[in-house]
């Protein structure tokens, strides 16, 4: 009996079965076909992957060596030489190979301890700007995100137009990434989207923005952040920027910071107090002490840390009183640490406390004093 005959007989027999059994048989066949397809797909995926891995293993060291030669050894390769050598290693220069080269370059930039001014030579020789532009035009979101990050790592700032098209994308994640990246990658108006940040900044937004602000700082283009702190209605942006003022130790916005001490949001007040400490605005110390007992825990902790930073020697009795009054163990640890590090008088006061206090308060003091405990 041929297969066709067998199949027809099989179909004829199935037709005589109840409907539910017919459905069962059809679904079983579908399941079997899907299973077989998955095995084939996995086999194909693996074959491609293994080939790619072999290529990476073979070519990465050679490519790395070529790039490091250009970057860190003073051998003056011409653009043509770089291109030809790269072609010798990888064969035909296509999108896949350029992506590979770009990955290696990004890896070197990320890992290398040494600076080099020769990145542009490789970028120009291989046409990586055009390749990145192509990636920015890609329909794949992952390629676009990749392009943002690679451009940032390589410190390329020629993509205003490409980024702008995503800065108003309907895809929230892409839009966010584009607006953040604009700060690092725009050559003309990097701060453009500070006024258009939507909703609350995530912690990741903050991490990205800090990276980009650092880059602007290295380029000498970091603007005073006070104007956005003053005008922005976005609380999360204000909190972030106040932190950044402290991070970059920007001067000249004392009045704005003092004004923020009266903000209705406790988080804004807390970061402002921290920043006042970093900027060493010692004249605010009496105001901070005055406010201490009317502030929530988060601001109280900031005040203690700030007073420790000021280290004026005038507030030891306040710190001791705060230690006595606090019921929160974590806060007590911070106050005890502040007393211990508060000049010579502080250390003496700490030892006195150790002799007078008993029970758990004594343990807190010993805990703070123990250098083996890294994170108090």
């Amino acid at each position: 009996m041929s297969f066709v005959e067998w199949f027809l007989t099989f179909v004829y027999r199935i037709k005589t079965y109840p409907l539910i059994i017919q459905i069962t048989i059809v679904l079983t066949l579908i399941f079997l076909v899907i299973t077989i397809c998955t095995v084939i797909i996995v086999y194909i995926i693996r074959k491609r992957y293994n080939k790619q891995q072999r290529k990476i293993q073979e070519n990465t060291p050679k490519t790395r060596m070529l790039f490091e030669d250009v970057l860190f050894n003073d051998k003056n390769y011409s653009a043509e030489e770089i291109f030809n050598r790269f072609e010798d290693i990888l064969g035909e220069i296509n999108e896949e190979n350029l992506d590979f080269g770009l990955d290696v370059l990004v890896q070197i930039k990320n890992e290398s301890e040494y600076e080099s001014n020769n990145y542009d030579e490789i970028i120009n020789a291989l046409g990586l700007i055009e390749h990145l532009e192509e990636k920015f035009r890609s329909r794949s979101n992952s390629k676009v995100i990749d392009a943002f990050q690679q451009a940032f790592v390589l410190e390329l700032s020629k993509f205003d137009a490409q980024i702008l098209q995503y800065a108003y994308s309907r895809n929230k994640k892409l839009r966010n990434e584009a607006r953040n990246s604009y700060l690092a990658l725009s050559a003309t108006d990097p701060y453009r989207f500070f006024n258009e940040i939507e909703g609350t900044l995530t912690k990741w937004d903050e991490i990205e923005l800090l990276q980009y602000l650092k880059l602007q700082n290295e380029r000498g283009n970091l603007e005073g952040l006070g104007k956005w702190i003053n005008y922005s209605k976005n609380k999360s942006l204000v909190i972030f920027l106040v932190k950044m003022v402290g991070h970059f130790k920007q001067k000249g916005i004392d009045d704005i910071l003092i004004e923020k001490l009266d903000d209705e949001d406790a988080m804004v007040r807390s970061v402002s107090i921290d920043t006042i400490g970093i900027l060493n605005l010692k004249q605010i110390e009496p105001t901070l002490i005055e406010r201490y007992y009317t502030e929530p825990e988060i601001c109280q902790v900031a005040i203690i840390k700030t007073i420790q930073k000021f280290n004026t020697g005038l507030s030891l009795s306040f710190l001791q009183q705060a230690f006595d009054d606090s019921n929160n163990t974590d806060t007590k640890k911070i106050i005890a640490e502040a007393i211990l590090n508060y000049s010579y008088e502080g250390r003496v006061a700490f030892q006195n406390l150790k002799t007078t206090l008993k029970g758990f308060d004594q343990t807190i003091l010993q805990h703070v004093e123990t250098p083996l405990i890294k994170f108090k």
């Binding site: 069962t24 679904l27 995926i45 990004v106 010993q366 890294k374």
Partner: protein
């Protein structure tokens, strides 16, 4: 009468099986979307950014240890090699009877220090804290406490000793990937809503190459039981939890590897100290706390395998492990019964809990009932021999297909295995699993339910470790069995518990 019963039963099974199949298909689609979304927006360059950032939040890595002398040193070293800018490692010695603590003291040059241990969550008495005199291990803290009988109690002690706003709970027998913290903190950092917990995939370490506490080469286990478990884990994490993640309904973040928001964990009352399913119990408490306080939250999941743990090498150990899990599941549903089918708890009460209850908790009971019913039909000659094998094969083909799809999802995410043969070996595992492994799991689950109802004694740490040096297995296995006997946790049976509830101990979702 018999005919009516048979018809009702058949209809029940039809709808049960059909809904299960549909749910699997839906989960497969959801997990595909979630995995793709993760892959599109997460790159390794993000890790570099995070590692260099001054704004990376601190993480406390908490791992309880009970009689873990065989693997403790290698595993603690593994935890110390994690890559992250700001973290501490807290090992909670839960009253080990073996040399766990002595080995730690010797290897890491530990000394007792005055430590302000605050009992934010109640635990069995805390004894002391050790810190290393070697600056190389300055992020290591060892908390020594009396044995609490459950891993949950030990986790609570770790929680009390931790200083950072997030914590990663793991087991000391787990080997973590070095980038675990950077990968797992990412959903917390990227979300506008508060992410209270994040999970990732676990795999078996049985045949992997491990050097200095680091996974150098991933292989599927050679032995059948851990290999079955590897497939089961991949299916559960990649298809199940990753699918649930898309609709913010992850039912459980594994006790082997989970990152949590410490503030919420403490406000939710910490781990249920007598819980044997401490992971699901903890997440449920946290979700309940958030909903009771009308706070928005998310539970995140990442499709990467960040943790390798030793799978049960034989039936005896598998039985212990699964009996404990099943008993814990029963306990969890009993303790949180107010959540089940309660619209107040939204997705948790109306989707996640009912799903786990119907398709995971009840499944072994329904299956064993099905087997008994088949025997009954056999005895009375009522089986339709033309159609019965077709239906059996239909279920089998579906099970194999689901596992095959999961293998593709796994390959899509990250190619952990080096050779194609290793991946294809998983397909063979998928073909054998429904016959060999599934009946065992069903049996052990029923055994666990029985243990819970009759209050049979259960112990944590009953998963006997082979360690990475397998020469001494036989001797040490018997040692461990003995020491496990000393760690038994006597519990009231379900009727006593019910009486206690009626006299005022009724479950009330925690409100703060």
């Amino acid at each position: 009468m018999l005919e009516i019963f048979t018809v009702i039963y058949e209809y029940f099974i039809f709808f049960y099986a059909t809904s299960l199949i549909i749910s699997y298909i839906v989960l497969a689609i959801f997990s595909f979307l979630a995995i793709n979304r993760y892959k599109n927006y997460n790159t390794d360059i993000d890790d570099e950014e995070l590692l260099k950032s001054d704004l990376a939040p601190g993480i406390s890595v908490i791992a309880p240890a009970f009689n873990e002398e065989k693997t403790i040193i290698v595993n603690v070293k593994s935890l110390l090699t994690l890559e992250y800018p700001l973290f501490e490692v807290i090992i909670v010695n839960d009253g080990s009877k073996d040399k766990t603590l002595d080995l730690l003291i010797e290897e890491f040059e530990l000394v007792e220090v005055p430590f302000a241990y605050v009992e934010k969550v109640k635990t069995k008495p805390y004894k002391r804290t050790f810190k290393s005199t070697n600056p190389k291990y300055d992020i290591l803290t060892i908390v020594d406490k009396e044995n609490g009988g459950t891993k949950a109690d030990a986790f609570n002690a770790g929680l009390n000793a931790s200083v950072f706003p997030y914590y990663l709970n793991t087991d000391v027998d787990c080997i973590l990937a070095r980038n675990t913290l950077t990968k797992m903190i990412r959903p917390i950092l990227s979300s506008k809503e508060r992410v209270i917990a994040v999970g990732a995939t676990l795999r078996m370490s049985n045949n992997c190459d491990i050097e200095e506490g680091l996974i150098k080469r991933v292989r599927p286990p050679k032995a059948l039981i851990p290999r079955f478990q590897e497939l089961e884990y991949i299916r559960s994490y990649l298809l199940g939890k990753m699918g649930w993640e898309l609709i913010n309904s992850v039912p459980n973040v594994s006790g082997g590897l989970g990152m949590f928001d410490k503030e919420i964990a403490i406000k939710a009352g910490g781990y249920g100290a007598d819980s044997h399913a401490e992971d699901m119990d903890m997440l449920t408490r946290m979700c309940v706390h958030m909903m009771n306080n009308r706070l928005k939250y998310r539970v995140g999941y990442i499709p990467l395998s960040c943790c390798w743990t030793e799978g049960p090498p034989n039936l005896k150990i598998l039985s212990r492990q699964r009996t404990r899990w099943a008993s814990g599941l029963f306990q969890m549903f009993y303790d949180h019964r107010a959540v089940l089918f309660n619209p107040k708890y939204k997705n948790l009460g109306m989707v996640t809990f009912p799903y786990v209850f119907i398709y995971e908790f009840l499944a072994p009971i329904i299956e064993v009932f099905g087997i008994l019913f088949t025997v009954f039909l056999l005895i009375f000659g009522l089986i339709n021999w033309t159609f019965a094998p077709l239906i059996l094969f239909y279920s089998y083909a579906f099970a194999v297909m689901v596992s095959s799809i999961v293998i593709i999802w796994d390959q899509m995410t990250f190619k952990y295995y080096k050779t194609t043969g290793e991946v294809l070996a998983l397909f063979v595992t998928a073909i054998l699993e429904p016959f060999l492994y599934h009946p065992l799991i069903m049996f052990f689950s029923l055994k666990g339910y029985y243990s819970y109802i009759t209050s049979r004694e259960l112990a944590w740490g009953t998963m006997t470790r082979q360690g990475f040096d397998k020469k001494d297995d036989t001797r040490n296995n018997s040692d461990n069995n003995q020491s496990n006997d000393t760690n038994k946790n006597k519990r009231p049976n379900i009727f006593q518990r019910k009486r206690k509830d009626e006299s005022g101990g009724k479950f009330e979702p925690i409100k703060t």
